[in-house]
Amino acid sequence: MSAVAIRGLTKYFGTRLVLDRVDLDVAAHEVVCLIGASGSGKSTLLRCINRLVEADHGLISLGGLSITDPQFGRTGLQQRVGIVFQSYNLFPHLTVLDNLTLAPRKVQRISRAQADARAREVLALFAMDSFAASYPEQLSGGQQQRVAIARALMTDPDVLLLDEVTAALDPELVGEVLRIIHDLKARGLTMVIVTHEMGFARDVADRVCFLSQGRIVEEDSPARLFTTPEHPATQAFLARLIASGRV
């Protein structure tokens, strides 16, 4: 059974077609990278998977549970899928520790002591445990993004969605975040990653999907897709990146 199964997903923003009958399957423990030009619908696709954006047509099921059915609310969705944003979106008025424990305490009704203990464990994984009492604005961008990933993992999701998590970082801080994502892959976490870092996509992805104008026009192993792209749009996209020295 697929961890994520998407069939015929269509989304309009007003009259603009953003996603056009997208089909996508992600196996358990698989890492899928979504690449494509700005405005190709990658981020919208990601946000549809945890229903921050409601699709207009189509089906999404997570581990066999259809989350696009009308009777499925948001309840329990956070235990199936977590998301990390480009701009971290940490709560600036809460400490690192409280950022991590807010959802477990309010949603899962775990006691503060239990939530704190679990949060410290997760922070230790990312070498952020010494910053538990800090506020987000006191941290570097890379540290904030590590905290954001830790926060998304607190609800123990089956699938982690990463939305251009290194795009807002200074170049020298990108590495520490990418290392964490490699670690998570080694731990067998299922991930769907939107990224502009082609080198990273090549390293971490089991499969790369190229989106153009709201459709997945080509998908394959990174080794094949990056060396011999077949679709003209993929070829043009990669040629542009190579020309600008980004690959």
Binding site: R47, L52, Q78, S87, N89, H93, K106, V107, E137, A152
Partner: protein, 301 residues
């Protein structure tokens, strides 16, 4: 082409590449500048002189005016001021009480209004509509009209079970009126919180209500603190509106004194009391804002 700047010397070589030799050491940090008396003397003298000339001139102009003795006797008569002070001060205590109670009521009621207005989802549509209408109506009416309407009107109905005091209903009018403004301030603060915060909270499974209470509102309140402090000061003066419905506040007491003595010095006493209360409030507001700004800009070393 301009002549080369001699300060750049002979070491200025265009297109130099390769490893640069390490310099001997950086130049020393700039010395802390002490206050330079000699440099400050001339501008200091000029500004002092101009202050003396301008204010001295104004003082002379006012005190030498033909009408000044009459003005002084009418408005700044020390004997009348002292005689009026106890009752005006007594009235001012009423102002302060109404102010404090109204502040608490406005803070809470306006927050309820703002929260209801920012709830999303079709279920809350009727509640949202009620709040929008409420804000439109109470923001559109003069506070004075509401005070008179409530303060005279409702006690006149003599409805059993409801308080009959003009003070109470005048206070209610102030709360209803000010809440409309403050609700909009709260809402601007809520709207100013980045959409990503809501997305993060929702993606973590927080309900709409928990998102508002734990993620959005704390940031929103911090955003609007300066604007709220402004309202606190404004309300402090506007409590005086209650004097028109016979509440014996500072202004009313001063008026009563004036009515019997035909001397306006008592109103000056009331004015001084208001300033005595509002000016420290304004400084407090500045201080709160400065501290908040410093906290936002703090970077851990």
């Amino acid at each position: 082409m301009a002549a080369p700047d001699p300060r750049f010397g002979a070491t200025q070589r265009p297109g130099r590449t390769g490893v640069r030799p390490a310099p001997d050491g950086p130049p020393p940090p700039p010395r802390k500048r002490h206050f330079d008396w000699r440099a400050a003397l001339a501008p200091g003298l000029v500004s002092s002189a101009s202050i003396i000339v301008v204010f001295g001139g104004l003082y002379w102009l006012i005190t030498s005016a033909e009408q000044w003795p009459r003005i002084k006797a009418q408005f700044f008569n020390i004997d009348h001021m002292i005689a009026a002070a106890p009752r005006v001060a007594q009235g001012f205590l009423t102002n302060l009480q109404v102010w404090l109670i109204a502040l608490v009521c406005i803070g809470v009621w306006a927050l309820v209004l703002a929260v209801v207005r920012s709830l999303r989802g079709p279920v809350f549509a009727p509640l949202r509509l009620i709040v929008v209408v409420y804000i439109d109506v109470f923001r559109g009416l003069p506070a004075l009209l509401l005070v008179i309407l409530f303060g005279f009107g409702i006690p006149a109905l003599n409805i059993p079970g409801l308080p009959n005091s003009g003070l109470f209903w005048g206070g209610v009018a102030m709360v209803l009126c000010y809440s409309a403004y403050v609700a909009e301030i709260y809402r601007s603060g809520i709207d100013a919180v980045h959409e990503g915060q809501r997305a993060a909270a929702r993606s973590l499974g927080l309900s709409e209500w928990d998102t508002l209470i734990y993620a959005i509102l704390p940031q929103a309140l911090r955003n609007v603190l300066p604007a709220l402090m402004n309202i606190v000061v404004a309300l402090q003066k506007d409590v005086a509106l209650l004097s028109v419905i016979g509440v014996r506040d500072a202004v009313r007491e001063a008026q009563i004194y004036t009515a019997t003595t035909f001397n306006y010095s008592s109103l000056i006493v009331a004015a001084l009391l208001f300033l005595l209360a509002t000016i420290p409030m304004a400084r407090l507001a500045d201080w709160v804002n400065r501290r908040d700004r410093a906290r936002r800009l703090q970077v851990s070393e």
